[in-house]
């Protein structure tokens, strides 16, 4: 085996009484792309922080380039060629690209004065290393997320990095940007750098990495070569649970459609869309970003007004004038970005759950009935098995999956007949994802009509009873998930065979 750039042995760390890491080991070879996987709270971030010198381990050993350390400080770690690209990239949005690139190395050189000529040379050199075409005088806040990430990568290269640790680098990127990022990673590898790729998305792990290490509850559970890994074992190691193969067999689809859409069109977004949806059904709509899928469901939710076509609910033609109108007609919508659009993060779980139905939970004088609110909260926490220590905790303390359940519960508390979910499990870890899928199937079984919009193809296959593939604003085909494969779906949505 090739020489190691980093070898970590028996690292233990606890915060207060909580044991974050119990004897974790990690071995990264020179020039290797290594994936560190694990669910939220598995100890991934703590391990990274120990490697980069932010935290001091309670026990264990770090070996870099054959030199052994019991702990490092951030400066030592950088000096040894370890660079972390944080999820927020640690860039200065208010400064120019040039300053963002040059400041760190100028600081490392302990310079007191700024020389703009030298800074420009440093920055130009940095972007040329990965062939990144960018205006050095542009403020970073005007760049896209993907470009900010490339700035962070260029900056890491300036510090003569040997190992670049990327913490969930793809979480805010579009598919296309992920592809571009992977190309950059391969380029770095070709130059002899090692990459530690931290992720919980299994597709990415399979695509980019050569070897993997999986952590669960602060312990090593598996490591090895990625080619020998399959999806099922990966999921098992991540979650410690065996999952059944998922698919939805609708038990109680009504014959009468609850929602009928005919020839619906919205200029620039979609055209001539027709479909029916019955209670008990889960309709999967898939397609690439920009295929018009989001605009379509947002039209049904009253955000956009269609330019042509009709919408009928229970056989009666309706016009959905506004979001309020949609809710009154029994339509609910969970947007893809629950963090900014769905929840009051600092408020308690109870308040988040009860906000949409407060009028039902108050008495004649408009005073809130505390008992009724508490009872309703308890019921939803139980029904959807929302994992929270107390309903009085702020929603932001919950994991992504549980936050998503709170959003769902809020909708379900209203009397809904149609529920639309856009990217229902985006950024949610595997265990919670499975739970949400089970929940959706259960709700459909109880007679709710559900539409899920998702580009997560396995998810669509697992949940939908019928799939509509959208491309460039039109439905290209309707598919039966029981006889469809992922590659067939991907082929249809991209138009590339």
């Amino acid at each position: 085996m090739a020489a190691s750039v980093l070898r970590v042995k028996g690292i233990t760390k606890s915060f207060g009484g909580v044991q974050a890491l119990r004897g974790v080991s990690l071995d990264i070879a020179l020039g290797e792309i290594h994936c560190l996987a694990g669910e939220n709270g598995s100890g991934k971030s703590t391990l990274i922080k120990i490697i980069s010198g932010v935290h001091e381990p309670d026990a264990g050993e770090i070996e870099i380039d054959g030199r052994r350390f019991s702990h490092l400080n951030p400066k030592e770690a950088i000096g040894l060629g370890i660079q972390v690209i944080y999820q927020d990239f640690s860039v200065f949005p208010n400064l120019t690209v040039m300053e963002n690139l040059a400041l760190n190395s100028e600081l490392m050189d302990k310079r007191k004065l700024v020389n703009y000529k030298r800074a420009r040379a440093i920055a130009a050199n940095a972007v040329s290393q990965i062939g990144f075409d960018v205006d050095l005088d542009e403020r970073v806040e005007n760049l896209t997320v993907a470009d900010r990430q490339l700035i962070a990568i260029c900056r890491a290269l300036l510090q003569e990095a040997k190992l670049i640790i990327m913490d969930e680098p793809t979480s805010a990127l579009t598919k296309k940007e992920v592809k571009a990022l992977f190309a950059v990673i391969k380029r770095l590898q070709a130059r002899g750098l090692s990459i530690l790729f931290v992720s919980h998305k299994l597709d990415e792990v399979f695509e980019i990495s050569e070897r993997y290490t999986i952590l669960r509850s602060g312990e090593n559970v598996a490591s090895g070569s990625t080619v020998e890994l399959d999806r099922k074992t990966f999921v098992f190691h991540m979650t410690g649970r065996q999952f059944e193969d998922e698919f939805y067999t609708p038990s109680a689809i009504r014959r009468e459609p609850i929602l009928s859409v005919r020839g619906l069109s919205l200029g620039g977004a979609y055209a001539d869309i027709s479909f029916d949806l019955a209670a008990g059904e889960i309709l999967g709509i898939t397609g690439l970003l920009g295929s018009g899928r989001t605009e379509l469901v947002e039209t049904l939710f009253g955000i956009f007004q269609p330019e042509a076509g009709t919408i009928s609910i229970r056989g009666k033609e309706v016009r959905i004038k506004s979001v309020k109108d949609a809710i009154r007609k029994g339509i609910g919508y969970v947007p893809s970005d629950r963090l900014t659009e769905g929840l009051f993060q600092p408020q308690t779980v109870e308040r988040n759950l009860s906000i949409t139905v407060l009028d039902r939970l108050s008495d004649h004088f408009g005073f809130l009935r505390r008992g009724a609110i508490a009872a309703m909260t308890r019921r939803w926490i139980g029904d959807l098995s929302i994992a929270t220590k107390s309903p009085a905790l702020p929603v932001r303390t919950l994991s992504g999956g549980n936050q998503q359940k709170v959003v769902l519960a809020r909708w379900l508390a209203n009397d809904l007949s149609i529920l639309m979910l856009n990217g229902p499990t985006m950024g949610v870890d595997i265990g919670s994802k499975y739970d949400i899928h089970v929940l959706m199937r259960k709700l459909a079984g109880k007679g709710l009509a559900i539409i899920i919009v998702s580009d997560d193809l396995p998810e669509v296959l697992a949940c939908a009873s019928r799939i509509l593939v959208m491309r460039d604003g039109v439905f290209v085909q309707e598919l039966d998930p029981t006889v469809t494969t992922e590659s067939k779906l991907s082929e249809l949505s991209t138009g590339i065979a």
Partner: protein, 338 residues
């Protein structure tokens, strides 16, 4: 390589345009605006708020806010005044500036310690210390308007030149304190643009965590900032009483609002990270013209407060609107790119 598009997004041109329009209006109505004595009067009134605004702008750029500088200036100058009077000092005014700056440094250091090291919120800390220093001045020192020592009185009579207005027969003297303002501006410009410390102030305002990770000494920079504001306030206090030739302890109290407004009007982003000396000085100039020259076109003094308020609301409103518009445009272009 500065493109036109980038310039139009800044607020300096708008403030400059407002100043030009206002001056032309006042000139057209009164014929007195561009007279030598009016311009010198304006420069004279601008010195104290401009000195304050430099420190204030730097603090806002770092993502903080300081409302204690008038209190620091007042207490520092008052104690200095009393010390020099009690010791019958008759030497150079430099000592007065040095003592006052030193006292300002101590008071600023308390802010810096509470904010930089104990990480307390800047507004609360400086509101607290502001009240503390004002209270000490009126309580412990039972301050009231007082004479100034000869050193300061002499300094107050040092004038660079005299401008006369032949039509009205009025004269105005350009005080030597304007040299202090010029020196401070040059120093602040070099500091902000060409030192790592200055860039660090912008870096902290952009993203404090990122600044820490990059290796900036964030606590040190904050300590420096509030000490700098303290020193500057101490110096401003002496400049003020020397121009007035008597030490009025309450003459500067309450100035924090107009100074902060001028700084924000000059394009400094309230959330930190952005701000320029040019914009700040333009902002101060606009506010000074409003409060000084409206009387030239027959608008009574109490109305100037209404105008000042309106300019602040419109000015900051325009800035906020631009920020929102840029953000929206960016979101759209990102959507289009995806």
């Amino acid at each position: 390589m500065i493109s036109l598009g980038r310039i139009s997004k800044r607020s300096e041109p708008y403030v400059l345009a407002a100043i030009i329009l206002l001056s032309l209006l006042i000139q057209a109505r009164s014929g007195q605006f561009f007279s030598g004595n009016n311009l010198v009067d304006l420069a004279r009134s601008l010195i104290v708020p401009a000195l304050f605004s430099v420190g204030c702008m730097m603090v806002i750029v770092s993502g903080g806010i300081d409302v204690s500088f008038p209190a620091i200036a007042s207490l520092a100058m008052y104690v200095t005044d009393k010390i020099l009077l009690a010791s019958n000092y008759s030497g150079n005014v430099i000592l007065a500036y040095a003592i006052s700056a030193g006292l300002g440094l101590l008071m600023g250091a308390l802010n810096g310690f509470l904010i930089g090291f104990l990480r307390l919120p800047t507004l609360v800390v400086t509101l607290g210390t502001s009240s503390l220093y004002t209270g000490l001045m009126f309580g412990a020192f039972s301050a009231s308007a007082s004479d100034v020592p000869p050193a300061i009185a002499r300094h107050g009579k040092e004038i660079l030149f005299t401008a006369t207005n032949p039509t009205m027969g009025l004269t105005s003297n350009m005080p030597s304190q304007i040299l202090i303002l010029i020196a401070v501006l040059i120093l602040a410009f070099l500091l902000l643009r060409y030192t790592m410390l200055g860039r660090g102030i912008y870096a902290i305002g952009g993203d404090e965590t990122a600044a820490e990770r990059a290796g900036f000494n964030v606590r040190g920079i904050k300590m420096f900032l509030y000490c700098f504001v303290g020193v500057l306030a101490g110096i401003t206090g002496i400049a003020r009483i020397s121009m007035m030739t008597y030490a009025d302890p309450s003459t500067m109290l309450g100035m924090e609002m107009t100074v902060i407004a001028a700084v924000v009007l000059g394009g400094t982003r309230v959330t930190g990270g952005m701000g320029s000396l040019t914009g700040t000085i333009l902002g101060v100039a606009l506010m000074t013209i409003l409060s000084n020259s409206l009387i030239l076109i027959g608008i009574p003094t109490y109305w100037t407060r209404v105008f000042t308020g309106a300019v602040i609301i419109i000015g900051t409103g325009v800035t906020a609107h631009q920020t929102i518009a840029t953000r929206r445009r960016r979101a759209q272009s990102q959507k289009a790119a995806a």
